[in-house]
Symmetry: C2
Subunit: 203 residues, 2 copies
DNA sequence: GTCTATAGCGGGATAGAC
DNA sequence: GTCTATCCCGCTATAGAC
């Protein structure tokens, strides 16, 4: 997780100083957490004075809000795109797992910040960011229910199974090495593990 | 995770003020994190003046060190006790999963602090606390290797499988409700999921 | 061991010149 | 938009009386 490039989805990151602030905060929040990071550190890494930061964000918390929003939207967008053209529950589970793994592998710092620092946000700020998260969880539960109805899955406890599937991919950013780990191989492995968890045949 | 009793293993928690400090810090660190918690908050919850805290701990970091040490030792002790009398790889995997789930369910706050705030500790202080963690990971890998050698398991990627098994139980404290969730039922479910992950027959 | 009081520093955020 | 300078507050930790 250290020394990762401060990658953010290019199409939604502002140009110029604001983008540099976001990338600097991304690295710092992922390494030290929100409360462990000072605005002076963010400003230094972004190459600006700490006062300049407030021309782009009204408060430190709003930097985190921007990052979390980008992160949860990116993952949901990947999920929805991956589900296009699927029909069976098994196909949808495969698509969800693959998209989730690839998302976490592509933006590991963003995934860490989105998941680990979420609770720092005030309730009012966190609520809108929770919407894509809830929608992603709903898509997973729907796939599990569909596969079960179709007779493809054999699930003892749907809630625990869903939570386990969600948690599996979230751990990837904590150990992945972008230089040596192949995201597509990881995705294959996680699709296999997911099928096993739900009692479906191997891919 | 909110409103959990500040439970710590009784046999290793100091009596009196020092124990109250540890219990207060346990709740605060679990809810807000180390950097999000002030000395004064800990002291208030413990019912003492903030200065008194320094008669028991030399620094804020040493409170966290004490909690993390208790947490990782508790989990390893449970693992080792659970492995007594086991012989096959399958029996050992079952024992490891059950003990881990029961440990996280019994001391959810301690598990959260041990896992989530570990990285805050300086390298010198973290190193000793990492020893029981590494030993626990070694016991799991050994069980996987043994079960594979015995023909009981069918594992595609041992590293990913081990990481997944470790991560599964770690998420329990984030959603468990001690009033309604039965730890033994949870343990049964996780043993089932673990067997599926490694390609072993259902329990 | 526990307190009152405070040192000393770094935090988030703002004012105002350019 | 960016800077210098600074406010003000809360933080960790300490000094010293009891």
């Amino acid at each position: 997780m250290r020394a990762f490039p401060p990658d953010l989805p290019e199409d939604v990151v502002p140009e110029g100083t604001k983008g540099r602030i976001l990338r600097a905060a991304l690295v710092a929040f992922a390494e030290r957490g929100f409360h462990g990071t000072s605005i002076r550190t963010i400003a230094d890494v972004a190459g600006i004075n700490s006062a300049t930061l407030y021309s782009h964000f009204a408060a430190k918390e709003q930097i985190l809000e921007a990052l979390v929003t980008i992160g949860v939207r990116e993952l949901l967008a990947r999920l929805e795109e991956a589900l296009v053209g699927t029909s069976t529950g098994l196909e949808r589970l495969d698509a969800i797992m693959r998209a989730t793994v690839l998302g976490h592998a592509r933006y590991p710092l963003l995934s860490v910040v989105s998941n680990s620092e979420f609770h720092v946000l005030s309730d009012e700020i966190a609520a809108p960011a929770l919407v894509p998260v809830a929608e992603g969880a709903r898509l997973l539960r729907a796939a599990l229910a569909q596969g079960t109805a179709e007779g493809s899955f054999n699930i003892s406890d749907p809630t625990i199974t869903a939570r386990t599937l969600e948690g599996m991919a979230q751990r990837i950013p904590h150990w992945i090495n972008p230089g040596t780990d192949d995201p597509n191989h990881l995705a294959d492995e996680y699709v296999l593990l997911a099928r096993r968890l739900v009692g479906a045949p191997a891919p």
